[in-house]
């Protein structure tokens, strides 16, 4: 057993004092001399031709400095599918899409100017349902799909509303169904929802006359913003500096590029003045990106002994008007499509569908919360059909080390154990115990759902870290993975402290991310930060030690190999005279006669995802997963049969996180993820009118959990089977707590009242309706 000094300890978050005193700065808190404010004219139609735009009155208004239309911004942006311009050109594709942007001295003037702009539209037939959008003759959302640039692993179907069709074929699915004793098919549905970060999308942009572009933005990934902005605008990257201060929540919705090009282009038109855009809450709902809607159909073949023989899966994703991120969610859900089980024969089609809804993007879990609702409900429905206990059924098919995943990957021995997670959760909720079902007219039930997820990213993404030794022996860690609440920088400081055996107080992690100075990191997404930045940071700390030892060896006249770095010193153990403080080596080592040696110590470290491959375009076979984090969720609920109210008495969660770096921060991720899941389980949903206008675009009408809505009890069971190529064995767990909440609760509701739910949210009304229909059937 390794004895840890800093890893595994409850080190307080590095950013905590700034945040509890209100001094932490977010993009919206920044102001610059001459700064202008942006307001948007947005489409009232879901699908319409733009016939004419008249901005003349707006331009005359005193204080208006720039009015920008789509024609003046003919650039397509995107990370996986460049299908979006920053303002609508020729036509609008969803209600709330920006058509004209105004930058003015004050928000008030900008808003007045927007009211003076006249746009003539010609309404076009619109499509809102993914299945209708797939039919022949459906209105086309993108006529020029064939012209859009996209990543090589994306397969659009020009002439149709399909932005990506991911195919997975393993074994022989027809044979699998023939071998089955029972075949069961079900359909599942989820509406679009929103990330609802407390900080709305906020950006400040400046395009100076010398060609330099400066951006301050609430983005998860500064280097992705720089890259996509540069490629989109055709500007060399060294001319772009992206700064990211603290972020008020991201949850995937601030990954990639969002509104940065708009403020930059407005600034250019306004002669280089900085331009700020703060999305209103309403715009956050219908103008910026949302989580895609989901339709799933699953057919499962199973033997009476509980072995699954085949799965045929169709996932349709309601990407809305633009599918940049949606195409990769489709792919990630496609290669993980079965959930954490070994299934010998699989046919899966996961399809990104354009509609005239607001456009989709990443949201914590990246498609996995959606499809796990389908797969984990289906597991219970199948188990019931063959009369098997749902826990036993899951264990029988569990993807444990050595078994083969949907893409043909043989799970490594240190891959983590879903079976241990399932067992731990079952025990925590008293699975199988006879307890009173009825308590004061209410009915109790228990449900379980398992899960898995790997970071969804291209096969070759990388991260780097710079560790600077300061003149007093303290160190400064520079990384470009952002701090949006998840706490990774604190965990990285613990990793540095452990590696250098140095007090945590002597370690600083830079708080601001800036592409001009910071080391490269692909993105802060996908629960990859701790693993990838962690490995890069370890590498940087080792590199720093090497540099220190090389100089110290010369100064002390000892072989480098004998030296150890700890307690802010470099020394030979057991030889008190062979020791130097790190501080004495920071800028250069000094011989007794005054000669200098070495130089400023700057540790560099990097990590590139190892062993991943492209997936076969026809079969989806290959190696997509850097690490799988496995888990299970258990719910104990109490249903009021009269009202449909469901109270969550207990949520028990287990994740194989390999190694806990900071228990309090991990718990925060678990509780927070669960409560977001409870929001979508019970209350969150986009409700549209027939014309595609969002009816609940504020936080009065669109509910998220408040303090009273949380479970009565949380139980978290960390499982720690270390992954050998991870820093101290630790896997990511940022997204996972948010996955499989909905199916665990739905399975518990069935256990309590015998009502099967196939749609979320499982609102009080929908549970009541289910009970009513069940009563009528009797």
């Amino acid at each position: 057993m390794v004895k840890y000094s800093y890893v595994g300890k409850d080190v307080p978050r590095l950013d905590a004092i700034e945040k509890v005193t209100g001094t932490a700065l977010y993009t919206g808190d920044l102001r610059f001399p001459g700064m202008l404010h942006t307001k948007l004219l947005k489409s009232p139609y879901a699908h319409a031709k733009i016939k004419k735009i008249d901005t003349s009155e707006a331009e005359k208004l005193p204080g208006v400095r720039a009015v920008l239309t789509g024609e003046e911004a003919p650039y397509r942006f995107g990370i996986y599918m460049s299908d979006k311009t920053i303002l609508a050109i020729d036509k609008v594709r969803h209600v709330g899409e920006p058509v004209v942007a105004v930058a003015a001295d004050t928000e008030e003037i900008a808003e007045q100017a927007v009211e003076l702009i006249k746009v003539e539209y010609e309404e076009l037939p619109a499509v809102f349902d993914v299945r209708k959008a797939m039919e022949e003759g459906s209105p086309l959302v993108h006529e020029n799909l064939s012209e859009y640039k996209h990543a090589p692993f994306v397969y659009p179907k020009p002439g149709k509303n399909i932005a990506n069709h991911f195919k997975l074929r393993k074994g022989d699915v027809e044979r699998g169904f023939r071998e089955a004793d029972v075949v069961i098919e079900n359909e599942f549905y989820q509406p679009q929802v929103q990330n609802v970060q407390m900080e709305t999308h906020t950006s400040i942009g400046q395009w100076l006359q010398n060609g330099q572009i400066n951006v301050w933005t609430s983005a998860q990934s500064p280097f992705a913003v720089r890259h996509l902005l540069g490629v989109g605008l055709g500007v060399p990257l060294h001319r772009i500096n992206v700064v990211v201060p603290y972020i008020g929540g991201g949850f995937g919705g601030k990954a990639g590029l969002h509104w940065e090009p708009l403020v930059v282009l407005l600034s250019k038109k306004a002669g280089g003045r900085p331009v700020k855009l703060v999305m209103t809450r309403e715009e956050q709902f219908y103008t910026t990106a949302v989580r895609q809607g989901f339709y799933g159909r699953i057919k499962t073949g199973v033997k009476r002994d509980g072995k699954i023989t085949a799965m045929e899966i169709l996932y349709l994703w309601d990407a809305g008007a633009y599918a940049d991120y949606g195409v990769n969610i489709t792919r990630a859900a496609g290669y993980s499509c079965t959930g954490p089980y070994e299934i010998p024969n699989i046919k899966c089609d996961s399809i990104t569908v354009y509609t005239n809804h607001p456009y989709g993007t990443a949201y914590r879990g990246f498609g996995h919360p959606e499809f796990h609702f389908a797969t984990e409900r289906q597991m219970d429905l199948v188990a019931r059909e063959i009369g098997m206990d749902p826990v036993e059924f899951r264990l029988k098919n569990a993807a444990v080390p050595g078994r083969i995943t949907a893409t043909g990957e043989k799970l490594r021995e240190d891959a983590g154990r879903v079976d241990e997670c399932i067992k731990a959760v079952a025990e925590a909720i008293g699975w199988g115990k006879k307890e009173p079902k009825q308590v004061g007219g209410k009915l109790r039930g228990r449900g379980i759902a398992a899960l898995w997820k790997a970071p969804a990213m291209p096969s070759f993404t990388s991260s780097s870290a710079i560790l600077k030794l300061n003149e007093d022996g303290s160190v400064t860690l520079s990384i470009s993975s952002t701090e949006m609440g998840q706490g990774t920088p604190t965990a990285l400081a613990q990793i540095v402290a452990e590696e250098l055996q140095m007090p945590i107080e002597k370690i600083k992690v830079v708080t601001k991310r800036e592409t001009d100075f910071g080391p490269y990191s692909w993105q802060t997404v996908a629960s990859r930060g701790l693993f990838m930045e962690g490995n890069a940071t370890l590498d940087a700390a080792k590199n720093l030690k090497e540099q220190v030892k090389a100089t110290a060896a010369e100064l002390l006249g000892v072989p480098k190999e004998k030296l150890v770095v700890a307690e802010e010193k470099v020394f030979v153990p057991g030889q008190p005279d062979k020791s130097l403080p790190l501080a004495s080596l920071a800028t250069a080592g000094i011989f007794p006669d005054g000669r200098g040696i070495g130089g400023p110590v700057l540790g560099y470290g990097m990590y590139t995802a190892e062993g991943l491959t492209n997936l076969d375009p026809e079969t989806g076979q290959g190696l997509p997963a850097l690490m799988w984090t496995f888990g299970a969720q258990g719910a104990e609920v109490e249903v009021d049969p009269e009202t449909g109210d469901v109270r969550v008495l207990k949520m028990a969660s287990a994740f194989d996180i390999g190694k806990t770096i900071n228990p309090t921060i991990v718990k925060g991720q678990i509780y927070g993820g669960i409560v977001q899941g409870i929001g979508s389980a019970f209350m969150e949903e986009f409700i549209f009118d027939q014309k595609g206008k969002l009816l609940n675009s504020n936080l009065t009408d669109y509910k998220i959990c408040r303090a009273q809505d949380i479970p009565d009890e949380f139980v978290f069971i960390p499982i720690e089977n270390p992954q050998l190529n991870a820093p101290h064995g630790a896997r990511g767990v940022g997204e996972h707590p948010r996955i499989s909440i909905e199916p665990a609760i739905a399975n518990a509701i069935y256990d309590a009242v015998g009502v099967d739910l196939f749609e979320i949210p499982m609102s009080r009304e929908k549970v009541w309706l289910g009970l009513k229909r069940k009563g009528e059937r009797k």
Partner: protein, 156 residues
């Protein structure tokens, strides 16, 4: 539009300002006084991130006009430290991991500080009620509630 001279105290300091009628107290705090710890996230009283104390009473400052604050004593997150010392709620938030992205943190700390002044030993239900008007998307509230209960135990 009418303009109004107001005089108010914020975190113990006196300010004399002239504000337009439609300026909210939140805008005045953030933009005129440049105290940005108080956040804006919905502008319509749903999220509570703009909570400040007005004469000691927690108030959503996006729904208060600046002109109404004339003669009032305002306390924001910037005014809660006692000299160099964090207040007990701030300390408990750090200890319990009640802080994640931090965007809602000032509002919860202001509301909790006001609660403990009025009700030094609240029950869990009373804590939930007192913070029920403030939204957090990161923490799931559990660690926030625990922090407030713990701060109440540690007393002043």
């Amino acid at each position: 539009m009418s303009r109004h001279k107001i005089s108010l105290r914020v975190n113990g300091q006196r300010y004399e300002l002239e504000v337009e009628a439609n300026r909210t107290l939140l805008q005045t705090i953030r933009e005129d006084l440049e105290m940005t710890g108080t956040k804006c996230a919905c502008e319509r009283g749903d999220c509570g991130l703009c909570t400040v104390m007005v004469d000691g009473v927690p108030t959503k400052s996006c729904l208060v006009l600046a002109v109404e604050a004339d003669g009032k004593e305002i306390t924001t997150i910037e005014g809660l430290m006692k000299g160099e010392e964090l207040n007990p709620v701030q300390r408990a938030f750090i200890e319990h991991g009640a802080v994640q992205c931090g965007f809602c943190t000032p509002a919860f700390i202001v509301a909790a500080t006001a609660l403990l002044k009025r009700n030094p030993k609240p029950s869990e239900e009373e804590v939930k009620e007192a913070i029920g008007g403030i939204l957090c998307r990161c923490t799931g509230y559990r660690q926030i509630i625990d922090a407030i209960l713990d701060a109440s135990k540690s007393g002043k």
